[in-house]
């Protein structure tokens, strides 16, 4: 249990990389990139967790009544999620243009830039 969340993050990152490298469809590759990124969410939040803690939100509990987890990593993860969504959108836009100009979304068939 001490390292399981970290190992899951590592697993997510490497699985995503494997998918990216072996992908035969660029839309699929963008999805794999999203999997890679979810590794960073899991790692960040796992780092900030505190046993027995609760969310650092004091609208329904009295400050100081319960231990709270780290709010900073949550803010970082929020930023990260926004980044992930926008990058996904931008890359998908590029994939659409590739489909138009090359007539394929299979990276094995893109033969314009070599050497």
């Amino acid at each position: 249990m001490h390292v399981l969340p970290y190992l899951v993050a590592v697993h997510l990152f490497l699985t995503g990389c494997y998918g990216l490298a072996t992908s035969r469809n660029l839309i699929h590759a963008v999805g794999c990139l999203a999997v890679c990124q979810s590794a960073t969410y899991v790692l960040l939040l796992a780092v900030g967790y505190r046993d027995g803690g609760t969310a650092p939100v004091f609208s329904d509990i009295r400050p100081g009544s319960r231990p709270v987890v780290d709010p900073v990593v949550q803010a970082l993860t929020l930023t990260d999620i926004v980044v992930g969504a926008t990058v996904t959108a931008l890359l998908l836009a590029l994939v659409l243009q590739i489909a138009k100009r090359h007539g394929t979304v299979d990276p094995d068939e893109l033969r314009e830039l070599r050497g």
Partner: protein, 583 residues
């Protein structure tokens, strides 16, 4: 004064927001004047701050000054190198905007301000990254810089190569950015801090016995992100694909300053985070950076020589030169840092000018292919002269700023690494001279086509139709940039000024030495000889068999590049491993 530091980010962003909000109604001239004013104003502010940067300015954004030693705010650092990079980025953006004055194809319907706004956001992002004193903040601006760069690279959506290059750029750089973020998370887990200097303290306090696997992994991951940006071998594959296809003004920024910001990031992060006793020992960093840097320089130079697509050739020359910068930064001496800083400034001017010349060819002839342009450039006398001058600057002919920087760095790295410097600069400059001789003078026979290569013919020009003559802005801008690169070496005291900005400890300033001048002249002579040989005896310098596998590695397949990225992290880990085992 220090309160003005974040304005270097805020002003361009505000200008971009203004342009998008009003962009549909404004005529194009008004948009360009607005962009120019905002960009120029920011550049002036950066310059003023740079001149006031001793002692270094530091600002806690959000007015959270540290209580005791710790703060909850974000630190912005305005020291010499940071403001120097911000100024360079701003001035180069100004040059790129001037170059694209009335230059692009009609902007997207109803979005007259879009291109200029993207350039302004790019400027703000580069300034933000240069000034960041907080590791996560650096990641945010790193990502902003990347996102804008992807969009700008794919700007010409009618061009098949452009969208493919932009996607490769996007996937590889995003993956690098996520690696960087994983590294930041590991560092946060160990130290519980995000400000770079505090992380450094935390590492030293946590590990008096030296680094462990956690420090090594975070070092490798953070460096992976930054080296992907800096295009070090084997993270470099995206760069030629992206820089060769981006619109010319964007290329000027990408090659002139964005890639160099990756190298700057390595310098900044190592110096403030990993340099302490709890970090990575200096010997390991030197081993990693010098090995990868030398490999990068050699690979870049060899690949540069065998290109016929002129923009791609210039992109590989950027790879080679970034390798030289990394070698210089890797030896970790103040003299080498001064040399690299000067070299970087000079290189930015020269490389941007060369891209500008290639852009003029593209818009005049609809081609950037060395073979099909053979002899057709004769009428463009000014562009041809500037190409030749740029090549000499690239080779490091005194008294260019590049030559001064290169000489100082060569002296600092010493020994066999000097050979790498001379060879890489001579080969890349030789390639540019060869292109100049063939395209603008029509010398030699027309070379034969090879099998595995990217040709540069049949490209869409970036203007509305082919130009019948090259407009004044497109010749003035490279001329000014070359003059600036020359001035850096000629103006007395400039070297000393740069050295003072880089570090107060300082090396006493960068000076011309007989040894340095001699090496500069030698590499220029070598470049001229190579170019002459290539033009008169094309068969002697055609791609030999041993270069083919190297060229095949550049397959244009994003899966290959991702696999290489993973290999790169492993190599980086292996290179830095001895320090961890030894402690």
């Amino acid at each position: 004064m220090r309160h003005l530091l974040p304005l270097l980010v805020a002003l361009p962003l505000l200008g971009a927001a203004l342009l998008v909000a009003t962009g549909r109604r404004l005529p194009r001239v008004a948009v360009e004047i607005t962009g120019f004013t905002v960009c120029g104003g920011t550049a002036a502010l950066a310059l003023v701050l740079l001149l006031n940067s001793a002692p270094p300015l530091t600002e806690w954004v959000g007015a959270w000054p540290p209580a005791g030693r710790e703060s909850v705010g974000i630190l912005v650092v305005g020291d010499g190198p940071a403001l120097g990079m911000a100024t360079l980025a701003s001035l180069l953006t100004l040059a790129a905007l001037a170059y694209s004055w009335r230059y692009f194809d009609a902007p997207p319907h109803g979005h007259t301000g879009a291109y200029t706004a993207l350039m302004l956001v790019f400027q703000g992002a580069m300034c933000g990254f240069a000034l960041a004193g907080d590791l996560f903040n650096a990641f945010v601006f790193f990502e902003l810089m990347s996102v804008v760069a992807y969009a700008l690279t794919g700007y010409r959506i009618d061009e098949a190569k452009a969208v493919q290059g932009a996607l490769t750029f996007g996937i590889v750089n995003s993956l690098g950015a996520y690696a960087l973020l994983m590294g930041i998370a590991l560092l946060y887990a160990r130290t519980g801090e995000l400000a770079m200097a505090r992380i450094g303290h935390g590492l030293d306090a946590a590990g008096p016995g030296g680094p462990d696997a956690l420090v090594l992994a975070s070092f490798v991951l953070v460096l992976t992100g930054l080296l992907v940006k800096a295009a070090a071998v084997p993270f470099h594959f995206w760069l030629p694909d992206a820089h060769a296809v981006a619109p010319t003004p964007v290329c000027m920024l990408l090659s002139g300053v964005m890639v160099e910001l990756g190298a700057y990031g390595v310098w900044r992060v190592y110096g403030t985070v990993f340099a302490g006793p709890g970090g990575i020992p200096a010997a390991d960093l030197t081993r990693a950076l010098v090995t990868l840097g030398a490999l990068t320089a050699v690979t870049g130079a060899v690949m540069c020589w065998y290109q016929r697509h002129i923009k791609r050739l210039l992109a590989y020359s950027t790879v080679a030169h970034t390798g030289l910068f990394l070698v210089g930064l890797g030896v970790l001496t103040p003299e080498a840092d001064d040399g690299v800083a000067l070299y970087l400034l000079g290189h930015a001017g020269v490389k941007a000018a060369l891209f500008a010349c290639a852009g003029a060819l593209l818009d005049r002839f609809g081609s950037v292919d060395e073979h099909s342009l053979h002899g057709r450039g004769r009428p463009l006398r000014a562009t041809g002269v500037m190409c030749a001058v740029g090549a000499l600057g690239l080779a490091g002919l005194p008294p260019f700023g590049t030559a001064l920087g290169k000489a100082v760095a060569e002296e600092a790295v010493g020994g066999p690494l000097t050979v790498v410097y001379v060879a890489a600069s001579a080969i890349t400059a030789g390639a540019v001279l060869r292109v100049t001789a063939r395209v603008f003078l029509g010398l030699g026979p027309r070379p034969r086509d090879a099998e595995y290569e990217t040709s540069g013919s049949h490209e869409e020009p970036e203007t509305t139709g082919l130009l019948s003559r090259v407009p004044d802005t497109m010749t003035t801008v490279p001329a000014v940039l070359l003059a600036a690169a020359l001035a850096m070496g000629v103006v007395p005291g400039f070297g000393a000024l740069v050295a003072r900005s880089v570090g107060p400890a300082g090396s006493g300033g960068a000076h011309w030495t007989a040894h340095g001048v001699l090496l500069g002249v030698a590499s220029t002579a070598l470049a001229v000889a190579l170019a002459g040989l290539a033009v008169t005896r094309p068969d002697w310098t055609a791609a030999p068999g041993w270069a083919a596998p190297l060229r095949r590695l550049q397959s244009g397949h994003v899966g290959d590049y991702v696999a290489w990225l993973l290999v790169g992290t492993t190599v980086l880990g292996a290179l830095a491993l001895p320090g961890v085992l030894g402690s």
